[in-house]
Protein backbone atom coordinates (compact mmCIF):
# COMPACT_ATOMS: atom_id res chain seq x y z
CA UNK A 1 0.00 0.00 0.00
CA UNK A 2 1.41 3.39 -0.97
CA UNK A 3 1.69 6.23 1.53
CA UNK A 4 -1.06 8.38 -0.06
CA UNK A 5 -3.48 5.42 0.07
CA UNK A 6 -2.61 4.85 3.71
CA UNK A 7 -3.13 8.53 4.53
CA UNK A 8 -6.44 8.47 2.68
CA UNK A 9 -7.54 5.47 4.73
CA UNK A 10 -6.80 7.24 7.99
CA UNK A 11 -8.50 10.42 6.80
CA UNK A 12 -11.59 8.35 5.93
CA UNK A 13 -11.54 6.78 9.39
CA UNK A 14 -11.32 10.20 11.04
CA UNK A 15 -14.06 11.49 8.74
CA UNK A 16 -16.38 8.62 9.61
CA UNK A 17 -15.79 9.21 13.31
CA UNK A 18 -16.54 12.92 12.86
CA UNK A 19 -19.61 11.99 10.81
CA UNK A 20 -20.95 9.83 13.63
CA UNK A 21 -20.34 12.58 16.17
CA UNK A 22 -22.11 15.16 14.02
CA UNK A 23 -25.01 12.87 13.10
CA UNK A 24 -25.72 11.67 16.62
CA UNK A 25 -24.18 14.34 18.85
CA UNK A 26 -24.47 17.70 17.15
CA UNK A 27 -27.54 17.45 14.93
CA UNK A 28 -30.73 17.73 17.01
CA UNK A 29 -33.56 15.23 16.99
CA UNK A 30 -35.90 16.05 14.12
CA UNK A 31 -39.34 17.03 15.42
CA UNK A 32 -41.74 15.07 13.20
CA UNK A 33 -39.71 11.99 12.23
CA UNK A 34 -37.70 11.55 15.41
CA UNK A 35 -34.40 9.72 15.50
CA UNK A 36 -35.18 7.79 12.31
CA UNK A 37 -34.39 10.94 10.35
CA UNK A 38 -30.68 10.55 11.30
CA UNK A 39 -30.42 7.77 8.70
CA UNK A 40 -30.48 10.58 6.13
CA UNK A 41 -26.87 11.40 7.06
CA UNK A 42 -25.81 8.11 5.47
CA UNK A 43 -28.61 7.72 2.95
CA UNK A 44 -28.13 10.99 1.07
CA UNK A 45 -24.30 11.13 0.99
CA UNK A 46 -24.22 7.47 -0.16
CA UNK A 47 -26.16 8.23 -3.34
CA UNK A 48 -24.02 11.30 -4.06
CA UNK A 49 -20.87 9.23 -3.70
CA UNK A 50 -22.32 6.45 -5.88
CA UNK A 51 -23.21 8.86 -8.69
CA UNK A 52 -19.81 10.49 -8.37
CA UNK A 53 -18.28 7.02 -8.79
CA UNK A 54 -20.39 6.40 -11.90
CA UNK A 55 -19.18 9.71 -13.35
CA UNK A 56 -15.64 8.43 -12.84
CA UNK A 57 -16.66 5.14 -14.54
CA UNK A 58 -17.86 7.09 -17.56
CA UNK A 59 -14.69 9.19 -17.82
CA UNK A 60 -12.46 6.14 -17.33
CA UNK A 61 -14.45 4.09 -19.86
CA UNK A 62 -14.12 6.79 -22.52
CA UNK A 63 -10.42 7.07 -21.67
CA UNK A 64 -10.00 3.32 -22.05
CA UNK A 65 -11.77 3.28 -25.42
CA UNK A 66 -9.53 6.13 -26.54
CA UNK A 67 -6.15 4.97 -25.27
CA UNK A 68 -6.70 1.29 -24.36
CA UNK A 69 -4.84 2.03 -21.16
CA UNK A 70 -5.12 -0.82 -18.62
CA UNK A 71 -4.94 1.74 -15.81
CA UNK A 72 -8.08 3.50 -17.07
CA UNK A 73 -9.83 0.13 -17.13
CA UNK A 74 -8.80 -0.52 -13.53
CA UNK A 75 -10.21 2.86 -12.51
CA UNK A 76 -13.52 2.00 -14.23
CA UNK A 77 -13.73 -1.48 -12.74
CA UNK A 78 -12.88 -0.36 -9.20
CA UNK A 79 -15.22 2.65 -9.33
CA UNK A 80 -18.13 0.53 -10.55
CA UNK A 81 -17.75 -1.89 -7.67
CA UNK A 82 -17.56 0.93 -5.14
CA UNK A 83 -20.45 2.80 -6.78
CA UNK A 84 -22.64 -0.31 -6.68
CA UNK A 85 -21.85 -0.84 -2.99
CA UNK A 86 -22.72 2.76 -2.09
CA UNK A 87 -25.88 2.73 -4.18
CA UNK A 88 -26.82 -0.51 -2.41
CA UNK A 89 -26.29 1.24 0.92
CA UNK A 90 -28.51 4.08 -0.29
CA UNK A 91 -31.32 1.73 -1.31
CA UNK A 92 -31.17 -0.36 1.88
CA UNK A 93 -31.03 2.65 4.22
CA UNK A 94 -33.90 4.22 2.27
CA UNK A 95 -35.92 1.08 2.79
CA UNK A 96 -35.15 1.02 6.51
CA UNK A 97 -36.17 4.70 6.73
CA UNK A 98 -39.29 4.07 4.64
CA UNK A 99 -40.71 1.38 6.91
CA UNK A 100 -41.39 3.62 9.94
CA UNK A 101 -41.92 6.81 7.93
CA UNK A 102 -44.06 5.70 4.97
CA UNK A 103 -45.17 2.44 6.59
CA UNK A 104 -43.71 0.28 3.84
CA UNK A 105 -40.32 -1.16 2.88
CA UNK A 106 -40.85 -0.48 -0.77
CA UNK A 107 -43.01 1.75 -2.90
CA UNK A 108 -42.89 2.46 -6.65
CA UNK A 109 -41.84 6.02 -6.02
CA UNK A 110 -40.00 7.77 -8.85
CA UNK A 111 -36.61 8.13 -7.23
CA UNK A 112 -36.68 4.74 -5.54
CA UNK A 113 -37.48 3.08 -8.84
CA UNK A 114 -35.00 4.99 -10.98
CA UNK A 115 -32.13 4.51 -8.54
CA UNK A 116 -32.82 0.78 -8.42
CA UNK A 117 -32.87 0.55 -12.21
CA UNK A 118 -29.47 2.24 -12.26
CA UNK A 119 -28.29 -0.23 -9.60
CA UNK A 120 -29.36 -3.16 -11.82
CA UNK A 121 -27.64 -1.57 -14.82
CA UNK A 122 -24.27 -1.49 -13.05
CA UNK A 123 -24.78 -4.97 -11.59
CA UNK A 124 -25.07 -6.07 -15.23
CA UNK A 125 -21.77 -4.30 -15.91
CA UNK A 126 -20.09 -6.33 -13.16
CA UNK A 127 -21.64 -9.56 -14.50
CA UNK A 128 -20.39 -8.79 -18.00
CA UNK A 129 -16.85 -8.39 -16.71
CA UNK A 130 -17.05 -11.65 -14.80
CA UNK A 131 -18.44 -13.62 -17.71
CA UNK A 132 -15.90 -12.56 -20.32
CA UNK A 133 -13.05 -15.05 -20.37
CA UNK A 134 -10.39 -12.87 -22.01
CA UNK A 135 -9.64 -9.98 -19.59
CA UNK A 136 -8.55 -7.62 -22.37
CA UNK A 137 -11.82 -8.20 -24.22
CA UNK A 138 -13.73 -7.87 -20.96
CA UNK A 139 -12.15 -4.46 -20.44
CA UNK A 140 -13.21 -3.32 -23.93
CA UNK A 141 -16.79 -4.57 -23.56
CA UNK A 142 -17.09 -3.04 -20.11
CA UNK A 143 -15.83 0.29 -21.45
CA UNK A 144 -18.58 0.31 -24.09
CA UNK A 145 -21.19 -0.45 -21.44
CA UNK A 146 -19.70 2.12 -19.05
CA UNK A 147 -19.97 4.75 -21.79
CA UNK A 148 -23.57 3.88 -22.65
CA UNK A 149 -24.61 3.76 -18.99
CA UNK A 150 -23.97 7.46 -18.30
CA UNK A 151 -26.54 8.93 -20.73
CA UNK A 152 -28.82 6.05 -19.76
CA UNK A 153 -28.82 7.23 -16.14
CA UNK A 154 -30.21 10.55 -17.31
CA UNK A 155 -32.82 8.92 -19.54
CA UNK A 156 -33.89 6.50 -16.80
CA UNK A 157 -34.29 9.29 -14.25
CA UNK A 158 -36.28 11.50 -16.63
CA UNK A 159 -38.59 8.73 -17.81
CA UNK A 160 -39.30 7.27 -14.39
CA UNK A 161 -39.89 10.78 -13.01
CA UNK A 162 -42.51 11.44 -15.72
CA UNK A 163 -44.02 8.01 -15.27
CA UNK A 164 -44.63 8.72 -11.58
CA UNK A 165 -46.01 12.21 -11.66
CA UNK A 166 -47.17 11.83 -8.06
CA UNK A 167 -43.60 12.05 -6.81
CA UNK A 168 -42.59 13.90 -3.72
CA UNK A 169 -40.27 16.71 -4.78
CA UNK A 170 -36.56 16.18 -4.10
CA UNK A 171 -35.95 17.28 -0.54
CA UNK A 172 -32.44 18.60 -1.22
CA UNK A 173 -30.64 20.52 -3.92
CA UNK A 174 -33.71 22.28 -5.15
CA UNK A 175 -33.67 25.99 -5.84
CA UNK A 176 -35.69 28.09 -3.42
CA UNK A 177 -36.34 25.33 -0.91
CA UNK A 178 -33.67 26.11 1.65
CA UNK A 179 -35.97 25.19 4.49
CA UNK A 180 -33.54 22.80 6.14
CA UNK A 181 -31.62 24.29 9.08
CA UNK A 182 -27.88 24.72 8.58
CA UNK A 183 -26.99 22.14 11.21
CA UNK A 184 -28.68 19.35 9.20
CA UNK A 185 -26.84 20.47 6.09
CA UNK A 186 -23.57 20.47 8.01
CA UNK A 187 -24.17 16.89 9.22
CA UNK A 188 -24.89 15.74 5.66
CA UNK A 189 -21.82 17.47 4.23
CA UNK A 190 -19.47 16.10 6.90
CA UNK A 191 -20.74 12.58 6.21
CA UNK A 192 -20.50 13.19 2.45
CA UNK A 193 -16.85 14.12 2.85
CA UNK A 194 -16.25 11.05 5.03
CA UNK A 195 -17.97 8.61 2.65
CA UNK A 196 -16.25 10.28 -0.31
CA UNK A 197 -12.85 9.69 1.29
CA UNK A 198 -13.82 6.12 2.12
CA UNK A 199 -14.93 5.49 -1.47
CA UNK A 200 -11.69 6.96 -2.84
CA UNK A 201 -9.74 4.73 -0.46
CA UNK A 202 -11.69 1.64 -1.57
CA UNK A 203 -11.14 2.51 -5.24
CA UNK A 204 -7.39 2.87 -4.75
CA UNK A 205 -7.13 -0.39 -2.80
CA UNK A 206 -9.24 -2.21 -5.40
CA UNK A 207 -7.13 -0.80 -8.25
CA UNK A 208 -4.02 -2.02 -6.50
CA UNK A 209 -5.51 -5.51 -6.16
CA UNK A 210 -6.57 -5.54 -9.82
CA UNK A 211 -3.06 -4.51 -10.89
CA UNK A 212 -1.54 -7.34 -8.84
CA UNK A 213 -4.06 -9.80 -10.32
CA UNK A 214 -3.14 -8.73 -13.82
CA UNK A 215 0.59 -8.94 -13.07
CA UNK A 216 0.16 -12.43 -11.60
CA UNK A 217 -1.74 -13.61 -14.67
CA UNK A 218 0.65 -11.98 -17.17
Amino acid sequence: MTVPTRVLGWLATLGLAAGLVVAFGVAPREVTQGNVQRIMYVHVPAVWVAYLAFTVVFAASVAHLWTRSPAADRVAAASTEVGVVFLGINIVTGSIWGKPTWGTWWTWDARLTSVTVVFLMYLGYLMLRRMTDDPERGARYAAVLGTLAAPSIYLVHTSVYWWRTLHQPPSLLKAGSATMPAVFWMAILVNFAALGLLAAYFVLRRMDLLRREQEALA
Partner: protein, 224 residues
Protein backbone atom coordinates in the same frame (compact mmCIF):
# COMPACT_ATOMS: atom_id res chain seq x y z
CA UNK B 1 -16.89 1.18 -51.81
CA UNK B 2 -19.04 3.83 -50.19
CA UNK B 3 -20.12 3.74 -46.56
CA UNK B 4 -23.80 3.33 -47.40
CA UNK B 5 -23.03 0.54 -49.84
CA UNK B 6 -21.09 -1.41 -47.19
CA UNK B 7 -23.97 -1.05 -44.73
CA UNK B 8 -26.36 -2.15 -47.45
CA UNK B 9 -24.28 -5.26 -48.24
CA UNK B 10 -24.45 -6.41 -44.61
CA UNK B 11 -28.20 -5.85 -44.58
CA UNK B 12 -28.62 -7.59 -47.95
CA UNK B 13 -26.59 -10.59 -46.76
CA UNK B 14 -28.80 -10.96 -43.70
CA UNK B 15 -31.98 -10.56 -45.72
CA UNK B 16 -30.90 -13.20 -48.25
CA UNK B 17 -29.92 -15.63 -45.48
CA UNK B 18 -33.25 -15.03 -43.79
CA UNK B 19 -35.22 -15.42 -47.03
CA UNK B 20 -33.56 -18.74 -47.77
CA UNK B 21 -33.66 -20.23 -44.28
CA UNK B 22 -36.67 -18.36 -42.78
CA UNK B 23 -35.21 -19.34 -39.42
CA UNK B 24 -35.78 -16.21 -37.37
CA UNK B 25 -39.08 -15.10 -38.86
CA UNK B 26 -40.84 -18.46 -38.69
CA UNK B 27 -39.78 -19.09 -35.12
CA UNK B 28 -40.70 -15.56 -34.04
CA UNK B 29 -44.15 -15.68 -35.61
CA UNK B 30 -44.79 -18.98 -33.90
CA UNK B 31 -43.48 -17.48 -30.66
CA UNK B 32 -45.83 -14.47 -30.96
CA UNK B 33 -48.79 -16.75 -31.45
CA UNK B 34 -47.82 -18.65 -28.31
CA UNK B 35 -47.52 -15.36 -26.43
CA UNK B 36 -51.15 -14.58 -27.23
CA UNK B 37 -52.19 -17.80 -25.57
CA UNK B 38 -50.05 -17.00 -22.54
CA UNK B 39 -51.66 -13.55 -22.26
CA UNK B 40 -55.12 -15.05 -22.61
CA UNK B 41 -54.47 -17.72 -19.97
CA UNK B 42 -52.91 -15.19 -17.59
CA UNK B 43 -55.63 -12.56 -17.87
CA UNK B 44 -58.70 -14.61 -18.59
CA UNK B 45 -61.23 -12.25 -20.08
CA UNK B 46 -61.27 -9.60 -22.77
CA UNK B 47 -62.07 -6.66 -20.48
CA UNK B 48 -58.99 -7.15 -18.34
CA UNK B 49 -56.87 -7.74 -21.40
CA UNK B 50 -58.00 -4.54 -23.11
CA UNK B 51 -57.36 -2.55 -19.93
CA UNK B 52 -53.65 -3.42 -20.05
CA UNK B 53 -53.36 -3.64 -23.83
CA UNK B 54 -50.50 -1.12 -24.35
CA UNK B 55 -48.36 -2.86 -21.76
CA UNK B 56 -49.16 -6.29 -23.21
CA UNK B 57 -48.31 -5.19 -26.73
CA UNK B 58 -44.90 -3.97 -25.63
CA UNK B 59 -44.36 -7.01 -23.48
CA UNK B 60 -44.90 -9.06 -26.63
CA UNK B 61 -42.52 -6.85 -28.64
CA UNK B 62 -39.85 -6.99 -25.96
CA UNK B 63 -40.02 -10.75 -25.46
CA UNK B 64 -39.87 -11.49 -29.17
CA UNK B 65 -37.17 -8.82 -29.49
CA UNK B 66 -35.07 -10.51 -26.82
CA UNK B 67 -35.42 -13.82 -28.62
CA UNK B 68 -34.83 -12.34 -32.07
CA UNK B 69 -32.01 -9.87 -31.41
CA UNK B 70 -30.02 -12.14 -29.14
CA UNK B 71 -29.18 -14.27 -32.13
CA UNK B 72 -28.21 -11.36 -34.39
CA UNK B 73 -24.54 -12.36 -34.55
CA UNK B 74 -25.05 -16.09 -34.15
CA UNK B 75 -24.46 -16.88 -37.81
CA UNK B 76 -21.13 -15.02 -37.83
CA UNK B 77 -19.98 -16.69 -34.65
CA UNK B 78 -21.03 -20.26 -35.45
CA UNK B 79 -19.84 -20.25 -39.05
CA UNK B 80 -16.53 -18.59 -38.14
CA UNK B 81 -17.34 -15.52 -40.16
CA UNK B 82 -16.39 -13.10 -37.38
CA UNK B 83 -12.98 -12.61 -39.02
CA UNK B 84 -14.82 -11.74 -42.21
CA UNK B 85 -16.51 -8.84 -40.44
CA UNK B 86 -13.22 -7.79 -38.84
CA UNK B 87 -11.42 -7.87 -42.19
CA UNK B 88 -14.09 -5.87 -43.98
CA UNK B 89 -12.44 -2.67 -45.22
CA UNK B 90 -13.28 0.82 -44.02
CA UNK B 91 -15.22 2.12 -41.08
CA UNK B 92 -16.72 -0.78 -39.12
CA UNK B 93 -19.73 1.25 -38.01
CA UNK B 94 -21.19 0.56 -41.46
CA UNK B 95 -21.51 -3.08 -40.36
CA UNK B 96 -23.34 -1.93 -37.24
CA UNK B 97 -25.80 0.15 -39.24
CA UNK B 98 -26.40 -2.73 -41.65
CA UNK B 99 -27.04 -5.14 -38.80
CA UNK B 100 -29.22 -2.56 -37.04
CA UNK B 101 -31.33 -2.09 -40.18
CA UNK B 102 -31.80 -5.87 -40.45
CA UNK B 103 -32.83 -6.18 -36.81
CA UNK B 104 -35.14 -3.20 -37.09
CA UNK B 105 -36.87 -4.75 -40.11
CA UNK B 106 -37.21 -8.10 -38.37
CA UNK B 107 -38.71 -6.53 -35.26
CA UNK B 108 -41.11 -4.32 -37.20
CA UNK B 109 -42.39 -7.32 -39.17
CA UNK B 110 -42.92 -9.29 -35.97
CA UNK B 111 -44.64 -6.29 -34.35
CA UNK B 112 -46.98 -5.88 -37.30
CA UNK B 113 -47.79 -9.57 -37.05
CA UNK B 114 -48.43 -9.33 -33.32
CA UNK B 115 -50.76 -6.37 -33.80
CA UNK B 116 -52.63 -8.26 -36.50
CA UNK B 117 -52.94 -11.27 -34.18
CA UNK B 118 -54.23 -9.03 -31.38
CA UNK B 119 -56.91 -7.53 -33.62
CA UNK B 120 -58.04 -10.98 -34.74
CA UNK B 121 -57.90 -12.89 -31.47
CA UNK B 122 -58.93 -10.20 -29.00
CA UNK B 123 -61.12 -8.04 -31.20
CA UNK B 124 -59.00 -4.91 -30.76
CA UNK B 125 -60.29 -1.99 -32.84
CA UNK B 126 -57.40 0.09 -34.13
CA UNK B 127 -59.17 2.18 -36.76
CA UNK B 128 -57.58 5.60 -37.09
CA UNK B 129 -54.97 4.88 -34.44
CA UNK B 130 -52.83 2.95 -36.90
CA UNK B 131 -50.92 5.95 -38.24
CA UNK B 132 -49.88 7.44 -34.88
CA UNK B 133 -49.20 3.92 -33.60
CA UNK B 134 -46.72 3.40 -36.44
CA UNK B 135 -44.82 6.52 -35.33
CA UNK B 136 -44.60 5.26 -31.74
CA UNK B 137 -43.59 1.77 -32.89
CA UNK B 138 -40.84 3.13 -35.13
CA UNK B 139 -39.37 5.38 -32.41
CA UNK B 140 -39.53 2.72 -29.70
CA UNK B 141 -38.26 -0.13 -31.83
CA UNK B 142 -35.30 1.88 -33.14
CA UNK B 143 -34.08 2.49 -29.59
CA UNK B 144 -34.58 -1.14 -28.64
CA UNK B 145 -32.85 -2.47 -31.74
CA UNK B 146 -29.96 0.02 -31.49
CA UNK B 147 -28.90 -1.17 -28.04
CA UNK B 148 -29.96 -4.73 -28.80
CA UNK B 149 -27.65 -4.93 -31.82
CA UNK B 150 -24.75 -3.51 -29.83
CA UNK B 151 -25.29 -5.88 -26.89
CA UNK B 152 -25.87 -8.87 -29.16
CA UNK B 153 -22.42 -8.31 -30.66
CA UNK B 154 -21.03 -8.05 -27.14
CA UNK B 155 -22.73 -11.06 -25.60
CA UNK B 156 -22.10 -13.33 -28.59
CA UNK B 157 -18.51 -13.53 -27.34
CA UNK B 158 -19.11 -14.20 -23.64
CA UNK B 159 -20.21 -17.10 -21.50
CA UNK B 160 -23.91 -17.53 -20.66
CA UNK B 161 -24.86 -15.09 -23.43
CA UNK B 162 -28.55 -16.08 -23.50
CA UNK B 163 -28.70 -15.04 -19.86
CA UNK B 164 -26.54 -11.95 -20.03
CA UNK B 165 -28.24 -10.41 -23.07
CA UNK B 166 -31.61 -9.67 -21.40
CA UNK B 167 -29.93 -8.82 -18.08
CA UNK B 168 -27.88 -6.09 -19.77
CA UNK B 169 -30.54 -4.91 -22.19
CA UNK B 170 -33.62 -4.55 -19.99
CA UNK B 171 -32.39 -1.95 -17.45
CA UNK B 172 -31.00 0.25 -20.23
CA UNK B 173 -34.32 -0.03 -22.08
CA UNK B 174 -36.46 1.23 -19.20
CA UNK B 175 -36.80 4.74 -20.70
CA UNK B 176 -37.77 3.33 -24.11
CA UNK B 177 -40.32 0.97 -22.61
CA UNK B 178 -41.92 3.59 -20.37
CA UNK B 179 -42.08 6.12 -23.20
CA UNK B 180 -43.39 3.63 -25.74
CA UNK B 181 -46.06 2.22 -23.43
CA UNK B 182 -47.25 5.68 -22.35
CA UNK B 183 -47.41 6.91 -25.95
CA UNK B 184 -49.17 3.72 -27.10
CA UNK B 185 -51.67 4.15 -24.28
CA UNK B 186 -52.53 7.65 -25.50
CA UNK B 187 -52.71 6.58 -29.14
CA UNK B 188 -55.03 3.65 -28.42
CA UNK B 189 -57.25 5.93 -26.34
CA UNK B 190 -57.65 8.08 -29.45
CA UNK B 191 -55.71 11.04 -28.11
CA UNK B 192 -53.57 13.09 -30.51
CA UNK B 193 -49.80 12.56 -30.53
CA UNK B 194 -49.30 16.16 -29.40
CA UNK B 195 -50.51 15.15 -25.94
CA UNK B 196 -47.58 12.80 -25.51
CA UNK B 197 -45.05 14.94 -27.35
CA UNK B 198 -42.69 14.89 -24.35
CA UNK B 199 -42.58 11.08 -24.43
CA UNK B 200 -41.95 11.06 -28.19
CA UNK B 201 -39.13 13.56 -27.71
CA UNK B 202 -37.64 11.35 -25.01
CA UNK B 203 -37.85 8.33 -27.33
CA UNK B 204 -36.22 10.30 -30.13
CA UNK B 205 -33.48 11.50 -27.78
CA UNK B 206 -32.87 7.93 -26.61
CA UNK B 207 -32.69 6.76 -30.24
CA UNK B 208 -30.12 9.42 -31.09
CA UNK B 209 -28.00 8.62 -28.02
CA UNK B 210 -28.11 4.84 -28.55
CA UNK B 211 -27.38 4.92 -32.29
CA UNK B 212 -24.54 7.41 -31.74
CA UNK B 213 -22.92 5.28 -29.03
CA UNK B 214 -23.40 2.20 -31.23
CA UNK B 215 -21.77 3.83 -34.25
CA UNK B 216 -18.86 5.14 -32.18
CA UNK B 217 -18.13 1.97 -30.21
CA UNK B 218 -19.02 -0.93 -32.50
CA UNK B 219 -15.52 -1.22 -33.94
CA UNK B 220 -14.20 -1.85 -30.42
CA UNK B 221 -16.57 -4.80 -30.00
CA UNK B 222 -15.62 -6.30 -33.33
CA UNK B 223 -11.95 -6.78 -32.50
CA UNK B 224 -11.25 -10.45 -31.89
Amino acid sequence: MSYARRAWIVLWKDLVTERRSREALNALLFFSLLLLFVFQFALGDRERLLAVLPGLLWLGFVLSGLVGLGRAFLAERENDCWEGLVLAPGDKSAIYLGKLAGNLLLMLVVEAMLIALFTVFFGVELGGALGPLAVVLALGTLGFAAVGTLFAAMTSQVRARELLFPVLLLPVQVPVLLGAVKATEAVLAGEPLAGVAHWLKLLAAADVVYVTVGVLTFEVLLEP
